[in-house]
């Protein structure tokens, strides 16, 4: 109450008295407004949760906006050119996908065939299936199935430099790769969170099977990062440390290489030009070198905004129906209180305070409704949240806490509903002639 003038305090006190005196009507007004406010809260909460889920790891998965990105075909010579061109440069980093690698006991089937996530082990999803004209099989026809053992299958990514200037992976434990020294014969690897779950849960020996490699190297796990990919175990390694284990002339990617990605700073035109020219010079068709500038975050934000506007528009329509309800109740109430308002004017209450009394009632009703809608939505989310699966861009339980923005939107919706619903009754109340009391 501190800071409010006598007029506004009076309006607030009388408004509260009015609400107390007409509890049923207040409840009816709240019911009519509830769905509209709830719709706004749900839309805003949905938008915030979706934004969290979509944008929380978009930089980690796609790279930060503005990054120049080149996709290059899996070609041994191309790998050498890329390694050579990017060597010692900080404005460009190459990523080579070595494909699935298995770390652990030799001669056993991995715990997660097909590099499936930890939570889906044993559920049959993701395991490779081999099909021919006679049907589909779990193992290659003619081969003996391997017994299960302590091994994990993960996607191995070779780096030519520190990728974190383009994909800001937060380091969760240990240390990041050191690109400054000579490559080690025992490849140092940094695993992502999903892969780390396997190493925490099982005693996995340090031997790495890599398709196309001349022998099984002994990897050293030096750290864990969040690479924004909760759906597959993966590891990051210096590309040149893996190249040591590839046959001569096989190229950096080896026979199972999955292609290259090159990340460059927005102003690295010269680097892109040199790289493209050298790749064309070794026979890679220019049309096979695809480049674009990352703006995934901006694109997602735009899409989310459009969706949010559409859904908020629909929610506003529901809110308007609630406003009509409040308006209806408000007009009826003012009609019944003509004598009261005339009397209040007679004892010196200015017109704007009379309008303020009605508005205070509808605004307080809107606030109460907002409180109820917010509580309902938060409770519903608390109940439903744990059952949200997550994975990919689908929000997981960690993303479904009730966003404060939804509460703010609910309060604003409640106040707007109260204001719109109370405006016309307020004007009517302010215009009631005092003489109507004298002649009553």
């Amino acid at each position: 109450m501190i800071g409010l003038s006598g007029g506004y305090r009076s309006a607030l006190i009388i408004g509260l008295q009015g609400i107390r005196a007409r509890k049923t009507r207040t409840l009816l007004s709240m019911i009519s407004l509830f769905l509209g406010v709830l719709a706004v809260v749900v839309v805003q909460a949905g938008a915030e949760i979706a934004e969290r889920a979509l944008l929380s790891n978009v930089d980690l998965v796609e790279g930060i906006d503005g990054t120049r990105k080149l996709y290059l075909p899996a070609d041994g010579k191309a790998g050498e050119v890329i390694m050579d061109t990017l060597a010692g440069r900080s404005d460009g980093v190459g990523v080579v996908s070595f494909g699935p690698a298995i770390i652990g006991e030799p001669g056993v089937a991995p715990l997660n065939p097909g590099a499936m996530p930890f939570d889906q082990m044993g559920m049959g999803f993701g395991a490779p299936v081999y099909c021919d004209e006679n049907g589909c099989y779990d193992t290659l026809p003619g081969t003996v199935p391997q017994p299960p053992g302590q091994a994990v299958e993960l996607y191995l990514n070779g780096l030519t430099g520190d990728i974190r200037s383009f994909k800001p992976f937060p380091l969760l434990s240990g240390e990041w790769l050191d690109f400054s020294g000579e490559p080690s014969l025992a490849p140092r690897i940094v695993v992502n969170k999903e892969a780390a779950k396997f190493f925490s849960a099982y005693s996995i020996p340090a031997e790495m099977r890599l398709n196309g490699a001349i022998a099984n190297p002994t990897p050293r796990i030096i750290g864990v990062v969040d690479d924004g990919q909760p759906w597959s175990p993966a590891a990051y390694v210096r590309a040149d440390e893996i190249a040591n284990w590839m046959p001569p002339n096989a190229g950096i990617a080896g026979p199972m290489g999955g292609g290259f990605e090159v990340f460059m700073t927005p102003d690295s035109h010269e680097l892109e030009q040199v790289l493209t020219s050298r790749l064309v010079a070794i026979g890679i068709p220019a049309e096979h070198i695809g480049g674009f500038t990352v703006n995934t975050r901006e694109a997602f934000e735009t899409q989310l905004l459009i969706m949010q506007i559409i859904f908020l528009g629909m929610a506003s329509l529901v809110l308007l129906i609630g406003v009509a309800g409040i308006l209806n109740v408000g007009l009826a109430t003012v009609g019944e209180r003509v004598e009261e308002f005339a009397l209040r004017r007679a004892v010196g209450t200015p017109r704007f305070i009379l309008a303020g009394i009605v508005l205070a009632e509808t605004l307080l009703t809107g606030l109460l409704t907002a409180g109820a809608a917010i509580a309902f939505a938060a409770l519903a989310l608390k109940v439903v949240g744990p059952y949200m699966g997550g994975g990919g861009y689908i929000p997981g339980p960690e993303n479904v806490s009730f966003p404060w923005q939804a509460a703010v939107a609910g309060v604003i919706a409640g106040l707007v509903g109260g204001l719109l619903g109370g405006l016309i009754p307020a004007i009517r109340a302010a215009r009631i002639p005092i003489a109507s009391v004298m002649r009553a």
């Binding site: 005196a21 007679a346 004892v347 002639p433």
Partner: protein, 254 residues
């Protein structure tokens, strides 16, 4: 010299609505001094309530001048009128107009919660209790109107009118809905207020109640006469007539 509390000079008012405009007041002259009690008699529809609503600034005259403490307030804005209603006047009506969801004390406090200044809840309660005590029903402060008799309700209404310590009470047939005995009691209360320096303008049909005022006037055909001078007058003149109240009448006669 201190100007009179209220001065009306040639005030006219015509009711306009459906049908022909109906002149209600046709040039009323009236002067009321501070602390004076005035009764206005007249037939139903003679314009007594209209005159009271003009004095109380519920409505504005079509013509003439209205001076309060010598200041012309004929055409003041509504916000100023609201302030004056709060500070200068207390209103009592035939129907009590108590809010049924409030207690007697809260009904009295209603006049204090009107946006004209601010009093703490404690001060409001104290003033309401004091006003109820003045009209002799402080013990009923926590009762709601439904549990009060007609006379008690009207006394709550009088306490509501007195709580801001107005200069003048405007009472529009305050005993109209009460039996004779209770009506007399209410008039006693109003009379008591005048003894403490508060002016009173009483619109009534009751000649006995009117007789207790210091001056009795009769509104007839839109013109204010000293009692007994009007064409339909029945009561005998008992009070001195001030020259300004007869001026218009003399003009008409001449």
């Amino acid at each position: 010299m201190t100007p009179p509390l209220i001065e009306l000079h040639g005030v006219t008012k015509t009711l306009r609505g459906q049908g022909e405009p109906r002149p209600i007041l046709k040039g009323v002259d009236l002067t009321i001094g501070a602390g004076e009690s005035v009764a206005i008699l007249g037939r139903s529809g003679s314009g007594k309530s209209t005159l009271l609503s003009l004095i109380g600034l519920f409505d504005r005259p079509d013509g003439g001048r209205y001076l309060l403490h010598g200041e012309d307030i004929t055409k003041i804005p509504e916000s100023r009128a609201a302030r004056l209603r709060s500070s200068e006047f207390g209103f009592i009506f035939q129907r009590f107009f108590l809010l049924k969801h409030l207690t007697a004390a809260q009904n009295v406090q209603m006049a204090l919660v009107n946006g004209q200044g601010w009093l703490s809840a404690r001060k409001r309660r104290a003033k309401a209790y004091e006003a109820l005590e003045r009209v002799g029903i402080a013990h009923l402060a926590k009762q709601r109107p439904a549990r009060l008799s007609g006379g008690e309700q009207q006394r709550v209404a009088i306490a509501r009118a007195l709580v801001r310590q107005p200069r003048v009470l405007l009472a529009d047939e305050p005993t109209g809905a009460l039996d004779t005995e209770t009506g007399n009691l209410v008039i006693d209360v109003l009379h008591g207020a005048t003894q403490q320096g508060c002016g009173l303008v009483l619109v009534t049909h009751d000649a006995d109640h009117a007789a207790r005022m210091s001056r009795v006037l009769r509104l007839d055909d839109g013109v204010l006469h000293p009692d007994g001078v009007g064409t339909a007058g029945t009561a005998s003149p008992r009070h001195a007539v001030r020259p300004d109240t007869t001026r218009h009448h003399e003009q008409v006669l001449s």
